[in-house]
């Protein structure tokens, strides 16, 4: 089906209703396999069992960034093609991306406590993720402040595009800032190359989380369309009563 056909919300709803159970089921299956793989993966020789946190932490970081990418593409859809679905997808992607970014921050913090002895370090990676999280909250704030949905969509789209330009600069400048201030004690999260016995479960886990991301995005998009229909019906009802 061409992407232009999805501009019709009814067609999209039909597609989403058909797809969501299958995608959700697939997500559950892959998660079952991934959790099994992750649990049977060997402990790290230095970090012990805490290395298991990585199976939540790394997918959270990847999908937190993927969320902004989805918003950027949707922003182009909103501004360039005026695709009605793009507005809805952009709105649905923001809280999901923020949730994954928060997951990355929280698990990283819990991992940092036993490994580094502190919940938080002003390290480059941590800081740039925190800024990404703040930017997500800003986009959500725009959605919640502008009353008219289509105007909110365009304001949020411009913010998403400016953010997409600025995010690499923030990342790069934060890296630079870190090396300037604490050259002696840089925490290398990636460290040496990961052993395949841990890397493969990690990749399966990332796949499971990506499927979860897709399912949630599809479901949230469907809910948003339904929410807008309810809004339109309420407005019609109110104007008929008046």
């Amino acid at each position: 089906m061409a992407i232009i056909n999805l501009a019709n919300p009814s067609r999209f709803l039909a597609l989403a209703t058909r797809t969501i159970p299958w995608l959700g089921g697939l997500t559950l299956l892959v998660f079952a396999f991934a959790i099994n793989q992750a649990m049977s993966a060997p402990d790290d020789y230095q970090q012990g069992a805490t290395v298991k946190i990585m199976f939540l932490h790394v997918p959270g970081a990847w999908l937190g960034m993927l969320g902004w990418l989805v918003m950027t593409v949707a922003a182009l859809g909103t501004l360039v093609w005026r695709h009605p679905l793009a507005d809805v997808v952009a709105k649905a992607a923001a809280p999901i991306g923020a949730a994954f970014t928060l997951m990355c921050l929280v698990t990283g913090s819990l991992w940092g406590r036993p490994m580094w002895g502190t919940y938080w370090v002003w390290d480059a990676r941590l800081t740039s993720m925190l800024v990404l999280f703040l930017l997500y909250l800003g986009v959500i704030a725009v959605w919640r402040t502008v009353e008219d949905p289509s105007r909110a969509a365009r304001a949020a789209a411009i913010l998403a595009l400016v953010g997409a330009l600025d995010l690499p600069i923030i990342k790069f400048s934060v890296d630079w800032w870190n090396t300037l201030h604490q050259g002696s004690s840089i925490f290398r999260m990636g460290g040496p190359t990961i052993d395949p016995s841990i890397l493969i479960p990690l990749l399966i886990m990332a796949l499971a989380f990506t499927l979860l991301f897709a399912t949630l995005l599809l479901a949230a998009t469907r809910n948003e369309i339904l929410r807008r229909r309810v809004r339109a019906m309420r407005l019609m009802q109110a104007s008929a009563a008046a």
Partner: protein, 222 residues
Amino acid sequence: MTPLAAILVRDMRLSVRVGGGALMGVLFFVTVVTLMPFALGPDLVLLKRIGPAILWLAALLASLLALDRLFAADHDDGSLDLILMGRMPLELVVAAKALAHWLTTGLPLIVAAPLIGLLLDLDAPAEGALVLTLIAGTPALTFIGLVGAAIAVTLRRGGLLLAVIVLPLTVPVLIFGVAAANAAVGGTVPFGTPFTVLCALSLASSAVGPFAAAAALRQEME
């Protein structure tokens, strides 16, 4: 007088007259810096070390103050509609308004910064570096804030939203501004490295900002 010069002069007049925020920004800047020693203690050694950071942070906050009125005042009295209908490219008009905003809020901060720096025991090289970095960096703050101001123009609580969406985007400017100011008084990095990046940030945001802000205004005012 060309239309752009007219807009520039008009905006500058409005901001220095009653109800304008030009000198309020400087007052805010001075007040924030004055509050710092009460929070941190009057230790001059400490204040001297973190002085450039304090001044940069205060300048960042002060530059936000007048931003929410940048387009909102024009929107209220209808002149924004005239500007949108006019023949001048909106991007240029927006850039002229940004320039006026910088001249009336950024420039007074730069003048006030060395005086306030004396209270934080900054010596001559640090003062010079601070002024240079503020000259190079505050245009970036204005042009990044411009986009936020355009997005928030029609909102009733726009000022609050503006701060939330603009501040995270200014992280690089703050990092390189403070880094350059600190590099001038010592440290391992030569002054030129962060300073050039700071200039690049200002130039890049002055190239992107007017287009993004003009796009936002067109979308908002439809």
